[in-house]
């Protein structure tokens, strides 16, 4: 997070897989559930498509829209929290996911940002992403997940 007018983080992970397999893991619900602590993501994954993340019981956690998409290289999602009032009040954030092939792996970069300083939303999502990325890496590299339940839920 920075103290200019923007709150932002940039996370990078290298996963020994192909861009096509990683893209599939990022966009197909039966994959997502396995590494994202049973959350589901609904979207048609086209520019302008609605995007929604939900808890296992079906309650939505975050909603938004696909702002840009270029399979299997890049997607930009408008990401608005809808389950916690103080996070919802901050308005929409922007999440950019980029895939870059490197040698025998893929460099996955997640940038999550919002145009306001000291954002509680960015703080909240910054705690979850490393766990999700670590699980995703385990899933694609070893067909297991390191963590089966989110430690704080």
């Amino acid at each position: 997070m920075n103290s200019s007018n923007r709150s932002q983080f940039v996370y990078v992970i290298f996963i020994r897989t192909t861009p096509a397999k990683l893209w599939q893991a990022l966009t197909e619900p039966h994959f997502i559930r396995q590494y994202w602590f049973d959350m589901t993501i609904d979207s048609a994954w086209k520019k302008g498509s609605p995007w929604k993340m939900s808890f296992p019981d079906g309650r939505p956690s975050d909603t938004g829209e696909i702002l840009e998409i270029d399979p299997p290289r890049r997607m930009v999602i408008r990401w608005q929290n809808v389950w916690k009032p103080e996070l919802e009040a901050e308005g929409p954030s922007r999440c950019t996911i980029e895939l870059e092939p490197v040698e025998k792996a893929v460099k996955l970069t997640v940038t999550h940002e919002i145009e306001r300083p000291e954002s509680k939303l960015i703080t909240a999502v910054s705690g979850g992403w490393p766990l999700v990325l670590s699980n995703l890496k385990s899933l694609l590299e070893t067909a297991e997940v390191a963590l089966t339940s989110h430690p704080t839920r």
Partner: protein, 108 residues
């Protein structure tokens, strides 16, 4: 050198850990900003940042011609999964056993 070796080597240096703390406090700094409040030469900071970047502990974003450095905690999560979490289980089991013994004694 393996990825794990490079990661632990990056963390082993106190100057590099200080840089990570600075980025944790204020993320997205340029080289010049990072040099300002540290008692290190510009060249020293440059070399540290290069190693941190190679170990994937620092991610780079360009803003025009400015190179911004972001702390990437993902490898630390991987260290936690590989080297800390798996060693916690025996301690938790010992705590559970103690709790059970204490609760059984309380029934007398």
């Amino acid at each position: 050198m393996s990825d794990a070796d490079l990661l632990f080597k990056a963390l082993a240096d106190p100057g590099r850990r200080k840089l990570m703390d600075r980025l944790h406090a204020h993320d997205g700094q340029t080289l010049t900003e990072l040099c300002q409040h540290l008692d290190m030469t510009r060249q020293g900071v440059t070399q540290h940042l290069a190693l941190l970047e190679a170990a994937n502990l620092v991610a780079i974003k360009w803003r025009g011609r400015e190179k911004l450095h972001f702390l990437n905690p993902v490898p630390l999560q991987e260290i936690y999964d590989r080297w800390i979490r798996k060693f916690e289980r025996p301690r938790l089991k010992a705590l559970r056993d103690l709790k059970r013994r204490l609760e059984d004694d309380g029934d007398d």
